[in-house]
């Protein structure tokens, strides 16, 4: 299929007129962005669970990326024209297994003998530097999604 969504068109126009610099061509700018991301993650990582600060800290990047994705999308990595259904089914099976395993634990109330993934991951994320690193990865993943 060769459909061209309205969200893609502005990005392609910009890509035609603005040559893309290689990664690392603007080290000062990249360093400022990295420092900003780490600083933001450090502040949000220190917020108490269920607090307004933690909620806003997650919703704010979501809103910013949502606006960028729909109003001013960056140059996007072209998606494949098609994917192999058989190959894709392996992903579906693995993800379904993950959800089933998680749902089984959730249904049981995540007791000690059958913990949910969340209850296993939360202690790992408890140290502030680890949580900060996880938030940075989450933010970068969000940006990677916007570029897709």
């Amino acid at each position: 299929m060769t459909e061209n969504t309205s969200a893609e068109r502005p990005a392609r126009r910009r890509a035609d007129t603005e040559p893309r610099l290689p990664l690392g061509a603007r080290p000062a700018r990249n360093a400022v962005i990295a420092a900003g991301l780490i600083g933001y993650a450090w502040v949000i990582g220190g917020a108490a669970p269920f607090s307004l600060k933690a909620l806003v800290g997650v919703l704010l990047p979501g809103a910013v990326l949502g606006v960028i994705a729909y109003a001013r999308p960056p140059e996007r990595i072209p998606p494949p024209e098609s994917i192999d259904i058989a190959g894709f089914s392996y992903w579906i099976i693995a993800i379904a297994l993950l959800f089933e395993w998680e749902a089984a634990a959730f249904r049981d109330g995540s007791p000690r003998w059958h913990p949910s993934l969340t209850d296993l991951v939360n202690p790992v994320l408890a140290p502030h530097p680890v949580k900060c690193a996880a938030i940075v990865i989450w933010l970068l993943a969000g940006w990677a999604l916007v570029r897709r």
Partner: protein, 66 residues
Amino acid sequence: MSTRTITIVGFIAVVAALVSLEILGRSPRTRIPTLGEWLGYVMRSPAGRAVVLLGWLWLGWHYFAR
């Protein structure tokens, strides 16, 4: 082996399977798409893009806000 250990091993096995699929997807002769490829394919439509971005947002809320 306790049921807790079995549960943890199950999660590790599924995550290992997902990582293996990504590695296999990057080999030159494979039918398996990489995570980026199939996510990009799903996000060709605005609805698919919204679902994926909401999933990302939910993940952040689930692990970092609660």
